[in-house]
């Protein structure tokens, strides 16, 4: 019977056809030892694909990783988290201070009156002619639709150039001039171009032209020996263009807020740029240490027009077409140590060495990122030698610690997990209650059992590896008995059922967190159980992330939450999370923490440009917040990157020949990839 035989033979042929392909496939052994340059390829495995390979719109870690190798920033962070020049040869922070020449004064007489009271030496003094300022504002607050153009006419002003940023430059002078000085200045007038003049508009206009202004300035001197990967030279217009692209609303750059303090960028000559800020804001300089510089010639309006024509984009779609929509983001061109070569969506991204890199070419010839979403699959590929490094899951780490073929590197993360209390509600207004709740939880046990030991306790709002962190603040020891004493001191006593109560009111509250995070879920249960032992009834609930934020956190409708913050290692600013002005709906100080001393310190810290003073203030802030315990600070997680032990760091002498190999090492703050350009893979595990 033909049909019967066919039913048996077709499956047989299909299987034979499929399985014979095994004979054609190279084994892992062939791949890892073959002479076809495997040693010159570095292959990393990550879980998710990159989105946009463009520094101004990259927000995910995969894009960030690739972008950091393809693009350069003006400044760089060195091993110890200090700024150092990169694309900029040199940079200098100075400041422009201006004061309005008020009614009844001439520039000369004003200068005469205030000059004994100025707090720093000015290197240059100029008189500015009356000028007109045109700004787009929105009288009803944020919202992009209702913008109005406003013209503000300003009178004569005197401008001082200072070598340092001195926010208090005019403070004494203003006292001498008297409180009415500001009111008598009548030269400021607002003219609305496109609408009626309202009270609100005038007050906004007046705010645009204050009596005195302190505007920090950064002058960058750019390197002249840098070219983009397409051969075009890098110059000042690229820096200005990058800034403009970030501020362009069509590009939806997630970095826009970081650049908001910048007032303007001026090209002084082809390789020098001046950045003027609206107000003293010390953290603003850090943006230049991570923002890669885009090639203007490939993304300016002429280039985009050409691209739209080539892609046949017409009509309304043209208006919204910015850098974000450009094909550039899938084949980027920068100045970095590696050139982009290929991107297979959801498979791999490949880069090749930039032989002309101004800082010396990297050791590796090729850099590949493979996208492997599953963590078991990543481990399989890594152990087979097809991948050189990956970020191991906490439960996988133990397998690598003793294996001589691999080198695991553990570093502390930048985010921390905490329990936050709603300080607007009873009983959390009493610091003794908050301390007691914290003391009742055994945090070391959480780290050991929930995190498999991959974490460390923290006591305050800064990353533990930075200078801002105050190591003098000691973590509160686990002590349920003392916690009970504190609660009794706060007026609570046990009732007949064994629960704590005060004035007939039982101590009972809810503790919530977001769904989908197993660690937070475990903390919820542990906290509930620990507090139950003291006689506190705590109801826990897990909520979907969007609901959690919208209905509970943003509206302040909660008693206590388990949450985490991701922080920057550079910036000591705590304004958004801890300042009392940020306690409104949808703001980040949702626990409602208010402390005048902390407020003042946060404000001053933002205007402080001296690092030693910044460190002192930040540590002071840390101890103040730790004393108040608005959060129970829990832990910061550790992450472990495993690397093939055949990979070493090359040491070259001045003439460029290899003199020695060193073991890989991370920076003191735990950044392993900092020395990546010196990495190389050897044929056998070296004896180092």
């Amino acid at each position: 019977m033909i049909l019967k035989n066919a039913l048996l033979f077709i499956p047989f042929l299909v299987f034979l056809g499929l399985l014979q392909s095994y004979l054609w496939v190279p084994t892992y052994g062939d791949q890892t030892t073959a002479g076809d340059g495997r040693l010159e390829k570095f292959i990393s495995a990550i879980s998710g694909d990159a989105r946009l390979l463009n520094p101004i719109v990259a927000a995910d870690s995969a894009s960030g990783f690739v972008v950091s190798h393809v693009f350069d920033s003006l400044l760089e962070i060195d091993e110890n988290l200090r700024l150092k020049p990169h694309l900029a040869k040199e940079y200098k922070v100075s400041c422009l201070a201006t004061i309005v020449v008020g009614e009844g004064f001439s520039p000369e007489s004003l200068l005469q009156k205030i000059s004994p009271h100025l707090t720093s030496e000015a290197s240059e003094i100029r008189v500015l002619e009356p000028s007109t300022l045109i700004r787009l504002i929105d009288p009803d607050g944020p919202g992009p639709l209702k913008e109005q153009e406003v013209k503000v006419t300003r009178p004569n002003r005197i401008e001082f150039s200072l070598d340092d940023v001195d926010p208090s430059f005019f403070e004494k002078s203003l006292k001498v001039l008297g409180a009415e000085y500001g009111q008598e200045v009548t030269g400021i007038s607002a003219v609305s171009v496109s609408g009626k003049i309202s009270e609100g508009l005038i007050s906004i206009a007046t705010a645009l032209a204050p009596i005195t202004e302190i505007r920090p300035v950064i002058d960058f001197d750019l390197r002249k020996d840098v070219t983009f990967h397409d051969g075009e030279a890098f110059d000042a217009s690229d820096v200005k263009f990058t800034y403009e692209a970030i501020m362009d609303v069509r590009n939806l750059s997630p970095r826009r807020s970081d650049f908001e303090p910048i007032e303007s960028i001026h090209i002084r000559d082809s390789h020098s740029v001046r950045v003027i800020y609206k107000r003293p804001f010390a953290p603003a300089i850090f943006v230049w240490s991570y923002m890669g510089i885009l090639p203007e010639h490939l993304l300016n309006s002429v280039a985009l027009d050409k691209e739209m024509d080539a892609r046949g984009i017409s009509g309304t779609a043209r208006d919204g077409f910015g850098v974000r929509a450009s094909k550039f983001n899938r084949s980027p061109i920068g100045t970095g140590a590696f050139k982009f070569t290929d991107w297979k969506t959801d498979e791999s991204i490949s880069l090749a060495r930039n032989q002309d890199y101004f800082d010396g070419p990297p050791e590796y010839k090729e850099l590949h990122v493979r996208i492997i979403p599953d963590s078991v699959a990543r481990e399989v590929e890594f152990k087979a030698g097809a991948v050189d490094t990956y970020l191991a899951d906490p439960h996988q780490v133990a397998r690598y610690l003793k294996d001589p073929a691999y080198q695991p590197f553990t570093s502390l993360g930048l985010g921390y997990t905490y329990i936050g209390y709603n300080l607007r509600r009873e009983p959390f207004q009493d610091v003794r209650v908050r301390r007691a709740l914290g003391m009742a939880i055994n945090i070391d046990e959480i780290i050991d059992y929930v995190l498999y030991g991959e974490g460390q306790r923290i006591t305050g709002p800064y990353p533990i590896q930075t200078d801002w962190y105050n190591h003098d603040v000691l973590p509160e020891a686990y002590d349920p008995e003392k916690a009970l004493d504190l609660l009794k001191e706060a007026g609570f006593h046990k009732n007949s059922e064994g629960f704590l109560e005060k004035n007939g009111q039982e101590l009972r509250f809810n503790l919530i967190s977001n769904n989908g995070n197993p660690q937070r879920k475990a903390i919820l249960t542990i906290a509930q159980n620990s507090w139950r032992k003291l006689g506190i009834r705590c109801d826990t609930r897990l909520l979907e992330w969007a609901v959690f934020l919208k209905d509970y956190v943003n509206t302040g409708d909660f008693d206590a939450v388990v949450l985490g913050w991701g922080l920057s290692e550079l910036d000591p600013d705590l304004y958004q999370i801890w300042h009392s002005s940020q306690t409104g709906p949808q703001q980040l100080n949702f626990v409602g923490y208010k402390n005048n001393e902390v407020d003042n310190l946060i404000e001053n810290l933002r205007e402080e440009y001296s690092r030693t003073r910044q460190v002192k203030m930040a540590r002071n802030l840390h101890s103040l917040i730790a004393k108040d315990q608005p959060y129970t600070f829990l832990y910061v997680g550790r992450r472990t990157q495993v690397v093939d032990r055949k990979i070493v760091m090359v040491k070259r002498n001045e003439s460029g020949s290899v003199v020695d190999y060193e073991k890989l090492r991370p920076t003191p703050t735990g950044n392993l990839n900092y020395f990546f350009n010196r990495w190389r893979k050897l044929e056998a595990i070296p004896d180092l």
């Binding site: 019977m1 049909l3 019967k4 039913l7 048996l8 077709i10 499956p11 299909v14 056809g17 499929l18 392909s21 095994y22 004979l23 054609w24 496939v25 190279p26 084994t27 892992y28 791949q31 076809d36 495997r38 998710g48 989105r51 946009l52 927000a59 944020p142 919202g143 992009p144 609303v249 069509r250 939806l252 997630p254 807020s257 974000r324 929509a325 983001n329 899938r330 969506t345 959801d346 498979e347 791999s348 590949h368 493979r370 996208i371 492997i372 979403p373 078991v376 699959a377 399989v380 590929e381 087979a384 979907e544 969007a546 934020l549 943003n554 913050w565 958004q576 999370i577 949808q586 980040l588």
Partner: protein, 321 residues
């Protein structure tokens, strides 16, 4: 008669597609959450920036307008993913081409395996083989595919030392054409087997019960009593009639093409449609979710239409109604 039947079936389905698109749009937008670009937990984002992004994605508009924008952009081909601002349709097409071989080989394995096992089980009803295949089917249905996938990957990698992840061996770009082709075939083997497992278990049961039903029919008994040999009875008289319901299954396979296999693609790092859809849902990438959903709906309707047509062609009794 025939023509009228088809036009009616077609207009009904077009109306249905329109309804589905409205309901799907509403459901996707009413689910909690926002695109990951509008990330309210990012402390660096100001309300102005979030308002700006919401406006650019039309999220500040009423739902019916958002629907209109979606349809307009979809028709013009201007529809862009929130995630990377790339046009949605080419993105889906690219992933579709990646998923297609997996789907094709998987389906081939399902149909190749199910018929012989199912027919043999039916012919030898109650035998040891029959009971064993029943047990095997239930075992395959009950075992989660991610577990089988891990076992299979570890077994192959540890015993044979060849790569199995992804669509191809990484770094094989310089090899000859034939070895690259065979490499692609090899990478299909494990994922397509694993995605076929459930299908084999179900379809072989289905074949068995269809055959059993037909074997008891009068015309089979007649054929036997005519003195025909057993193979002719089973494969000519019984099997042909048992095949009729399977014609409809061809049509219904169409939507499975865009569904992809999320779990298998995720574990095997296969850049297919299932992963695209899964990641789009996690990121609330509405244009991609909606378009994929809509295409799946269209294919389902097309599939039912095709099976109606095939059935009408194969079985004259249908046409008369």
């Amino acid at each position: 008669m025939m023509f009228k039947y088809f036009t009616r079936a077609l207009t009904q389905r077009i109306f249905l597609a329109f309804l589905i698109s409205i309901i799907a749009h509403a459901v996707v937008h009413l689910a909690p959450g926002e695109p990951s670009e509008v990330d309210p937990s990012n402390p660096l984002m100001k309300p102005e920036d979030i308002a700006q992004i919401r406006m650019a994605f039309h999220l500040d508009q009423p739902l019916y307008l958002q629907y209109a924008y979606w349809i307009r952009d979809l028709v013009n081909g201007d529809l862009k993913s929130f995630k990377d601002s790339q046009p949605v349709l080419p993105k889906i097409w690219e992933r579709f081409l990646n998923s297609l071989p997996l789907f094709f080989v998987g389906t081939l394995i399902v149909w190749c395996l199910s018929f012989p096992t199912g027919i043999y089980a039916a012919v030898n009803r109650g035998s040891k083989y029959d009971r064993l295949s029943t047990f095997g089917s239930y075992a395959l249905i009950s075992l989660p595919s991610f577990f089988l996938a891990y076992v299979a990957i570890l077994w192959v990698v540890n015993n044979f030392g060849v790569p199995v992840l992804g669509m191809r061996t990484f770094g094989l770009e310089d090899a000859s054409g034939i070895s690259r082709f065979m490499d692609r075939v090899w990478h299909l083997v494990l994922p397509s087997f694993l995605s076929a497992m459930g299908g084999v278990a179900v379809l072989s049961r289905y074949v068995r019960s269809q055959m059993l039903e037909v074997i008891d029919q009068d015309y089979v008994r007649t054929a036997r009593s005519k003195g025909l040999d057993e193979d002719t009875v089973i494969y000519k008289h019984a099997l042909r009639n048992a095949l009729l319901p399977f014609i409809t299954m061809f049509g219904l396979m169409l939507p499975a093409m865009v569904g992809g296999s999320v779990i298998v693609e995720q574990i095997f790092a296969w850049p297919g449609l299932g992963r695209l859809g899964y990641e789009a849902i996690l990121n609330r990438d509405y244009p991609v979710i909606l378009t994929l959903n809509f295409i799946a709906a269209l294919l389902t309707l097309l599939g039912t239409f095709i099976s109606d047509v095939l059935y009408a062609v194969a079985d004259p009794r249908i046409r008369l109604q």
